[in-house]
């Protein structure tokens, strides 16, 4: 089990959350080429190390939150509310 630091609820079991994954900037649909759009849909950094990612606290405050997590050790760090860029859409299913 890993604990995720929800900025609204405090540390909670990761099973309460849905993982939305790394944050990928969403291109402007009006100007993006098909290649840009498919890169946004599919390409991921898949970093081994500290990542900034989106989780959804589905069994808690039901908010999207930003958390920093180390993908090798699963250590987590809280991102205080208001300091994170809001998620721009589901990044990974």
């Amino acid at each position: 089990m890993i604990l995720l630091p929800c900025p609204w609820c405090g540390p909670r079991d990761a099973a309460e959350f849905a993982h939305y994954g790394e944050q990928v900037p969403r291109p402007d649909p009006g100007t993006a080429t098909p290649a840009d759009w498919r890169a946004y849909l599919y390409l991921r950094a898949n970093t081994r190390g500290w990542v900034t990612e989106t989780w959804y606290h589905r069994m808690g405050c039901r908010r999207f939150i930003t958390v920093e997590r180390h993908t090798q050790t699963n250590e987590t760090r809280m991102v205080p509310p208001g300091t994170a860029t809001p998620p721009t859409g589901p990044a990974a299913g």
Binding site: A39, L41, L43, R44, N46, T73
Partner: protein
């Protein structure tokens, strides 16, 4: 494929394993010869394969045997078979959903069938049959679809009813009162289990006998790319010059591809499995339930091997988790209540390189000479031989053979995905 492979056995090496040899060594107590020879790392190779699992070693073996390319190095940061090849649940099958997938895995099962003879190594392939249970009308419909696609491709696969399921696996709870009643199953007689370590060791022995160098504890830390093509790889022990690099590193594939500047549509998820203490043989087939996220088989030693779906979030960690084993045990007991007193011996995790369409990525990249055999997700082990054969052909001829043409990296930009989620494994 390209007809019969050319045989290039050199001077009877390695000595064939035989019953007479076993008796002779048992009586004389003389030492067995080394399975393969270790060599110092050369400063250059024709082909460098990163990843010493079943995919990398099979590619090296078929490069040497089918194409006569023997100046090949296989590099692994740990020991061979220490990644997914030694962590899977050793199930083989070819009852996929798309015609491309069925053709591909059917070729792999056929290669596995003759592997013990070809490699002179007992891989213990047991084609005991494979049952995928349907617990709802919707999944029964998908089973029928899969069975028809399978039959059209010449693969033995049919939908059977609960009575037949009970006959094949008597310990399954097929009563109507079960929480997830068994409405039927997709029965795939050629499916079964194999000894995965032996497959890795057999390919390593066969490749080394044909001159391939296997370098364990040799981590690749960089890939030298100049002018849009590969020049060599950097290892922790020094540089190796080469014009062809094959990335066969599964869960770590984005890290290796990143060294060559190639972005992949891959995310890495752990997949956990567990094994129980040995019990008397009672389960003669592999049993899979997608709804319950579990697959069960019994090894020749009597242990029950359980697998499940990938963890709920990406990670490179290979630690097991308590919630996994708890939910797995609950699901197994819903299928087979009689197992309530069987103890779990251990659990482990392997890393899966998941792609958006649950199909692999094989072939060329924008960097000339940098080839991929990645994106194997939860189904890489069963594809080892055919991938090795196809990648060897791809390296030797410079273009992907027809059997892997649908699996190119360019399919994502082109939007030509090969949707295999319906049959890739249990529910994701």
């Amino acid at each position: 494929m390209d007809g019969q492979p050319r045989r290039r056995r050199r001077g009877g090496y390695p000595a064939r394993y035989s019953a007479a040899g076993l008796v002779r060594r048992g009586l004389s107590r003389s030492a067995w010869p080394a399975t393969w020879t270790r060599h110092p790392v050369k400063s250059s190779y024709d082909v460098v394969i990163v990843g010493g699992g079943v995919h990398g070693l099979a590619a090296a073996y078929y490069l040497a045997v089918n194409h006569g390319i023997t100046d090949v190095a296989v590099l692994d940061k740990g020991y061979i078979g220490s990644g997914g090849s030694g962590r899977n649940t050793a199930i083989l099958r070819s009852n996929y959903l798309t015609p491309e997938g069925v053709r591909f895995y059917d070729r792999s099962v056929k290669l596995y069938q003759r592997l013990a003879t070809e490699l002179d190594y007992n891989v213990m392939f047991s084609q005991r049959g494979h049952l995928t249970l349907a617990h709802s009308d919707a999944s029964l419909r998908t089973m029928r679809w899969r069975a028809e696609v399978n039959k059209a491709e010449g693969v033995d696969s049919e939908v059977i009813g609960p009575a037949e399921v009970k006959r094949l696996a008597p310990f399954l709870d097929v009563s109507a009162a079960a929480r997830y009643p068994v409405l039927g199953a997709l029965y795939h007689p050629p499916g079964g289990i194999i000894r995965h370590d032996a497959v890795v060791w057999g390919y390593a022995r066969g490749a080394a006998a044909h001159g391939v160098h296997i370098h364990q504890s040799t981590e690749v830390i960089g890939i030298d790319v100049a002018g849009g093509r590969v020049r060599g790889v950097e290892t922790a022990d020094g540089a190796i010059a080469t014009r062809v690099v094959l990335n066969a590193t599964a869960g770590w594939s984005t890290l290796i591809a990143g060294m060559a500047g190639v972005a992949l549509p891959v995310t890495t998820y752990p997949l956990q499995a567990a094994v129980t203490e040995p019990v008397k043989p009672f389960l003669g087939t592999v049993v899979v339930s997608g709804t319950l996220h579990v697959y069960v088989s019994q090894t020749d030693r009597g242990e029950l091997v359980f697998g499940a779906s990938v963890d709920p979030f990406t990670s490179y960690s290979m630690r097991g988790s308590l919630e996994f084993i708890e939910s797995l045990a609950g699901h197994v007991l819903q299928l087979m209540p009689a197992l309530a007193n069987v103890r779990v011996l251990r659990q482990w995790a392997g890393l899966c390189d998941m792609t958006p369409d649950f199909s692999p990525i094989m072939g060329a990249t924008p960097v000339e000479g940098f080839l991929l055999d990645v994106g194997w997700g939860t189904y890489g082990f069963k594809a080892g031989p055919v991938s090795g054969e196809a990648m060897a052909q791809c390296i030797a001829s410079g273009k992907p053979p027809e059997i892997i043409a649908p699996f190119g990296l360019d399919r994502f930009a082109a939007g030509a995905l090969v949707g295999e989620k319906g049959a890739a494994a249990v529910g994701h």
